[in-house]
Assembly symmetry: C2
Homo-oligomer: 324 residues x 2
């Protein structure tokens, strides 16, 4: 037990010093909900709030990873520390892409002020969004100036993630098919900055114009969400993008908008944890399997079954006041 | 009140007669959780279980909608009734694609034994997966021989959907980029039949071979999951695909495998409803807003907040026996 306390203290000390080994170990504890997970969260959480947490999202193939790599380089040349969390199954960070990309990313491995972590996009205990948020807290709490979170902008898990970062960059490219564009519909509303990457390709101006039209349909005649152009592979537009993101973050912090966002993030996370906990509690309290078996045999509908389970766990009649 | 009962009875009668208007109205009640929603579910649920519920999933652009249209035509020429539920944002059913596709789909509008419903891919009260499952029950309970559910195979919501159908067809095409292929990783394990559509394109044989290799890595030397080829636009391979799906469904029904799957589906649905209900109950019981405000100000971590809320609702100390 004493040993364990020592371990925990040294882990926290390692996190505070931004030691990569300690960060990696802590991230694994959070991702897999290993023993000490809750204690770690409690220790880290009060230290959070200092980082600029920026989501970089968009469909596969738009060059998010290259863009993130260039952002990291630019931040480093400006003396700022940065952590990257890749939740993108096609990212070189998570091993989904070409070896060349992965090797290039490893160029940062000797730099103590860059920490890169890839997330398994499934299998994390309690869900990917839960684990990702906890690891963002870890990196924020460890004192990185920036935390960049790379995700494919599709699906509930990923939408949940981008809904809990400070700023969202939505990346696209000229000439993407309608089919691909459609999948980003769910995050379009929460984008703070649109980025047209590979902007040296044919059709870039058209894509920018189309995006601006779409934005003004939502925001009116004086839209505030910008559409920036980058050619990440040639390092074009990176400084401008970073400058814009930094200014926007500062403005949000000053106006109180950032506080409002982070309050919403807390709400979403609490709700999501509450859902998870009720399942745990039901499994601990009741013989769920037996309930399900009898329901299945008697063809009881899922709503009636779940109401019955919850009533037994909570000890109240939740049918009262429900809908017809 | 008497009026309402009459309305309800006539709605149920309309559903039993597979009247399109009644089905459409009932689907809206289920999707938007309108008054009478629970009563409708209770009335429908015992009638379910007769349809073959088949998910057609895969990344955008592989031609799922055309494939579904051809499956519908083939089933109709065989005298079987079929309902289509499109949860794909890029589907012509949901208005995401070209006008030409949409018009072609309307070719079925005069046929009483074909019913087509598109789902909003967000905004459904209680979640898209919940609403989709309820509408599948409606269509199954109404007595359609087949219910085809078209989804893009990405994201939690859609994975939840394909996890609660009888059979899953995973559609791909030759020459899709690695990035796109990666997004289907989440549903690859639950595919019952792989379909290489647009199989007259270059690289079809290669794609089939690659898929077979991937399958045998999972299933061993004698893999059972087939890889079928179609050219939906030319109506090639459709009969074979349908025949295979029908045989597989029959075999599963005979072996008891179908019952096992459907029991798992009930479990998933009950768990998901339980999660939703605890949120409702917490909001009804506590001043969640005030709890969140004070937690936010005191920088209390989300786990501690959710535990506290749940403890107050459930009336037990759920910290006991929890992790460290």
């Amino acid at each position: 037990m004493t040993k364990r306390v020592d371990d925990f203290d040294s882990l926290i000390a390692g996190i505070e010093a931004r030691q990569h080994r300690a960060l990696g170990r802590a991230a694994t504890v959070l991702e897999d909900r290993l023993e000490g997970h809750r204690r770690l969260v409690r220790a880290i959480y009060p230290r959070t709030g200092g980082a600029r947490v920026v989501g970089v999202t968009g469909p596969p193939g738009v060059g998010k990873s290259t863009l993130v790599e260039r952002l990291v380089r630019s931040l480093r040349s400006d003396g700022q520390s940065v952590a990257v969390l890749a939740v993108d199954p096609s990212s070189p960070f998570t091993g989904g892409a070409f070896l060349g990309d992965r090797v290039r990313m490893q160029g940062f491995s000797a730099d103590p002020d860059v920490f890169i972590r890839s997330m398994a996009t499934r299998g994390a205990v309690g869900g990917v969004a839960r684990a990702t948020r906890d690891i963002i807290d870890l990196l924020d709490g460890a004192g990185f100036d920036w935390v960049l979170v790379e995700t494919v902008g599709v699906g509930q898990d990923e939408t949940d993630i981008v809904r809990t970062v400070d700023l969202v960059l939505l990346v696209t490219v000229p000439g993407l098919g309608d089919e691909i564009q459609a999948i980003k519909a769910g995050v379009m509303e929460i984008a703070d900055i649109f980025v047209v990457n590979k902007a040296d390709r044919d059709g870039a101006e058209r894509t920018v114009r189309d995006l601006k039209t779409a934005i003004s349909l939502v925001e009116g005649e004086v839209p505030s969400t910008p559409v920036l152009q980058t050619v990440a592979i040639k390092n074009e537009g990176i400084e401008e993008l970073l400058g814009y993101a930094a200014r926007l973050h500062d403005e949000l912090a000053e106006s109180g908008g950032l506080g409002k966002r982070r309050f919403q993030h807390l709400r979403l996370r609490v709700e999501s944890l509450l859902k998870e906990r009720i399942l745990d509690l039901t499994r601990q309290t009741l013989d769920v399997e037996a309930h399900l078996r009898s329901a299945f045999e008697e063809r009881e509908d899922p709503y009636s079954v779940s109401d019955r389970l919850l009533a037994e766990v909570v000890g109240v009649d939740i049918h009262k006041g429900g809908d017809l």
